[in-house]
């Protein structure tokens, strides 16, 4: 199978590989997929409380090149977006950007699921989150 140039670029130079502190109240973590299915994505976001904007996004992916590229691309797109804007990212946007063939669409679905899981984790922490400095209660 031939890979698109963009998939190859993300595979060869993955963006934002790494991990953020799961315990950090401003970090949302999403882990989706399963080892026996052949792909697991971990996607993390760090949201700036003052601005509501995603400052940092990191990923680690076990999966094929298209899964790696989908999650790498997702971290690029997440940075600088508000949580609500991030929630609007669709798997079809990833399919179009990376020119994924039909058999690889599930990789983009997994990336969308990972984004949503990370945001939901961040939101779930909201009740215990301390107000950010400088913001009047």
């Amino acid at each position: 199978m031939a890979y698109s140039d963009k998939v190859l670029d993300h595979y060869n130079n993955p963006r934002n590989v790494g991990s953020l502190d799961k315990a950090d109240q401003n970090v949302g973590t999403g882990i989706v997929g399963a080892p026996e299915c052949g792909d697991v994505m971990k996607l993390q976001i760090k949201v700036n409380d003052a601005t509501g904007i995603i400052d940092e996004a990191k990923f680690k992916t076990f999966g094929c090149g298209s899964a790696i590229a989908s999650s790498s691309l997702a971290t690029e797109w997440l940075k600088g977006k508000t949580v609500d804007e991030a929630m609007a990212i669709k798997n079809t946007d990833i399919v179009n950007e990376l020119s994924l063939p039909p058999v690889k669409i599930h990789c983009s679905v997994l990336a969308e699921d990972a984004i949503k899981a990370a945001i939901n984790d961040y939101k779930a922490k909201g009740s215990t989150r301390k107000p950010a400095a400088g913001v009047e209660a």
Binding site: S19, G33, A34, K42, F62, G63, G65
Partner: protein
Amino acid sequence: MKLPIYLDNHATTPLDPRVLEAMMPYFQEQFGNAASRNHAFGWVAEEAVETGRKQIASLIGANAKEIIFTSGATESTNLAIKGVADMYAERGNHIITAATEHKATLDTCKHLEKKGCRVTFLPVMQDGLIDLSMLREAITDKTILVSIMYANNEIGVIQPVAEIGRICKERSVLFHCDAVQAVGKIPVNVLTDNIDLMSISGHKIYGPKGVGALYVRRRNPRVQLTAQIDGGGHERGMRSGTLNVPGIAGLGKACELAQKEMAAESVRMAALRDRLKDKLMSALDETYINGSLEHRLPNNLNISFAYVEGESMLMGINDVAVSSGSACTSATLEPSYVLKALGAGDDLAHSSIRFGIGRFNTEEEIDYTAGKVISVVKKLRELSPLYEMVKEGIDLTKVQWTGH
């Protein structure tokens, strides 16, 4: 050293130049039909075919009259299994095979199941070998055929063929053996192994594609087959169709070369294989060999690199041609059924790479491959959330995954 490197010799092998040379005359100058009995063109072609028959028979301890030419091993296997099922239908309808057989065998058996045959698919043990006591127990008075491969195409595991042959003989059940990966690589003898029918392929032994053979025992017992292709009655009526004379000349030459060179070649293959294995396993933790190392073809290595996915590895080692048991590399999007049958878990099937070493590979190529694989696996493990979790002490089997 030339790139890319070919290390997928279980899929197919390059044509040996000496084989090509043996084939060349039969494309143009000696183009006759081997079935033309009344002129010199036919006689020359027939002679080439009979030479090929002898060369194949000699390699496997058979008589030349016991060799039937086909288009390849898939056809040979179809003819053997369907031909026996049809011919011996009055005697019984039960066939025994194994879970790790090639699709040519499994799908042929499944086809016959729909037509009223009963098929037992024997499981394999963790090392890939069948359990002989299970085979003995599976045989009933309705059993007409046992079809077990000599050596597996994915994991290279060699079945106890001589014992299987003996059991079949004791119980008067015919034994078909798919010997595609074994012939020419390790000694195969239809007499000492008690094989009644055996499938052989040209292109797995440095011969041409599109030609194969089926060994059909003529004595003790005399095996009969119902033809699956009707026509001019070629090949003792078992396989009609004009013979592929250049292909047969090539297959014959390939067998002759294998017979001469196998002893030395298998030692060289095993040394290259072990060199690759040792380099990979000393540099990388959590790597597992799939299938028995002891009962294994000298040219096969099948390794799972835990926590990295096969297709992403193939992408990284793109100048080395190998294959993977990962779902993403298969047409069905299912991980390798052979590796699943070993019971090692789907995750290790997704992480597997098959290295198939061949006649034309060099030590330099093996060293390059080892270096490349090591760097790619290390890179992908840095990217792997599973590797990170394991390093943090998390038991992956206890995690609640969101499977899809």
